[in-house]
């Protein structure tokens, strides 16, 4: 797993920025985001080769602790996931858990 560097973070920002546009160049990235986001054999997420929490920090100037706090807020405390295809797992119910 590669960890963040200034250069890599800049490349990542460019990649994600492109993915959010509607330009012809973006289409190939949007159409195949595996090129940007992938999981390794441990289920670790990397974004353009950068470990994901570090990449998020580089992209948004939020510390890993803040990333975790937010992720907990959404996933662990207030579960806001909701699968509208009719999923009936707890994770998919959209209920608020304390």
């Amino acid at each position: 797993m590669n960890y963040t560097s200034k250069g890599a973070a800049t490349a990542l920002l460019a990649a994600m920025s492109i993915a959010g546009t509607a330009s012809p160049a973006a289409a190939s990235i949007v159409g195949k985001p595996a090129a940007v986001v992938q999981l390794d054999e441990n289920g670790m997420i990397a974004i353009a080769g950068i470990e994901a929490d570090a990449a998020l920090t580089a992209m948004y100037d939020q510390s890993p602790a803040e990333v975790f706090e937010y992720a907990m807020d959404v996933n662990g405390i207030h579960c806001t996931t909701n699968n509208n295809a009719g999923c009936n797992t707890v994770a998919g119910c959209g209920g608020t858990f304390v």
Partner: protein, 362 residues
């Protein structure tokens, strides 16, 4: 808990705050869906069930999770533990309580890591409630498995018509006794009573609502009203389903909702629910289905990895496998479309990637 919700911002197109809000939204979505600090495993300890609900979409082709897969799940948790701050174990099925051996092994590991301060464990289970007696509740709560969901189709016969045992026998009385037992205990849990609405069960649901108000009135209980849909079930007795847009459904929904003292707005309708819509309208918390997140995997009883718990038989949902040593293999081409919303920030792709992925919209 730190609140990172964005302050109220002027989001008019000309405002510089519009860009700040966009960045906040992006960060919210991506930190939820991409963080390696959290891992959610939706585990199917068995894909067999002691019920035969007439609208069920599962085919029961796969049995119990063999020890090799259980070992693989535990090994994956051990491999990831040092870097994890939050582990969420979510048991689904089939009926997960039919394979408590697997639940016990995996949950005991999670609890051990929690007790050692390595990570925080939260856990939930979707169960039909038939085996959820007092002793089982005690054991599950001991494993931090405190987020429970039980489905009901109405009071008594209304429930038994569409949620019979595999041998056709009734199930309601025992489930209700288990719910009452949980309500009368002092245990710390949350139980979502998922009440299904379908043509023909109106009277039974209204009667059930009265009894829920009377017996499940504390804040550990919430009720989620869900319209039964047709998700591929092949039972010849599959009930008719409501047209969401019909006045009949709206009137029924409103009557039940107004009769309940504790009802969850989130997820109450097929478009996402009022509370979620409100959060979305604020611009800070768009819906993200677990299937759209990179840090959430469904582990089937046979060790195959899925993203969605509904489209279990769809090839596009089969994204990899877990090995006994805890490593996983992922088919990136199949995994990628599920996470597309994290790149595009498209609300529909985040809300329900299955509708996009499985329709071939890759």
């Amino acid at each position: 808990m730190t609140s990172l919700a964005a302050p109220v911002l002027d989001v008019s197109a000309a405002s510089p705050n519009a860009d700040a809000l966009r960045r906040q939204r992006e960060w919210n979505v991506r930190s939820t869906g991409l963080s390696n600090s959290t891992l959610e495993l939706i585990l199917l300890p068995t894909e067999q069930c002691n019920f035969r609900c007439t609208y069920c979409y599962e085919d029961f082709a796969i049995g119990r999770m063999p020890q090799g897969v259980v070992d693989g799940v535990m090994a994956l948790i051990r491999r990831r533990a040092a870097g994890l701050k939050h582990l969420h174990l979510n048991y689904f099925g089939g009926e997960p309580l039919l394979n408590m051996r697997a639940v016990r092994q995996i949950s005991a590991l999670g609890k051990q890591l929690h007790d050692q301060g390595v990570l925080r464990l939260t856990s939930g289970m979707t169960t039909n409630g038939f085996l959820l007696d007092d002793a089982m509740m005690e054991e599950l709560v001991g494993y931090h498995c405190t987020q429970l969901q039980v489905s009901l189709d109405g009071w008594g016969d209304a429930h038994d018509r569409s949620r019979p045992k595999r041998n056709g026998g009734p199930t309601f009385d025992r489930i209700w006794a288990n719910i009452l037992s949980a309500a009368q205990s002092s245990r710390d849990f949350s139980m979502l009573l998922r009440v299904h609405l379908m043509p023909g069960n109106e009277e039974g649901v209204l009667r059930l609502a009265e009894r829920i108000n009377a017996s499940c009135s504390d804040d550990r209980f919430q009720v989620l009203l869900k319209k039964v849909g047709n998700w591929g079930g092949r039972d010849p007795n599959h009930p008719a389903v409501y047209d969401e847009a019909s006045d009949h459904f709206s009137n029924f929904y409103d009557r039940v909702r107004n009769s309940l003292s504790r009802v969850s707005d989130v997820g109450a309708d097929e478009s996402g629910g009022n509370a979620a819509k409100a959060a979305e309208a604020e611009g800070t918390a768009p819906f993200i289905c677990y299937a759209a997140r990179g840090n959430s995997l469904v582990v089937r009883a046979n060790g195959r990895l899925n993203k969605c718990t509904v489209a279990l038989s769809s090839k596009g949902n089969d994204v990899g496998e877990i090995r006994a040593d805890g490593t996983i293999s992922i088919d990136a081409d199949r995994m990628a479309p599920w996470m597309r919303g994290l790149a595009t920030m498209d609300a529909e792709q985040l809300r329900c990637p299955a509708t996009h992925v499985l329709s071939g919209g890759r």
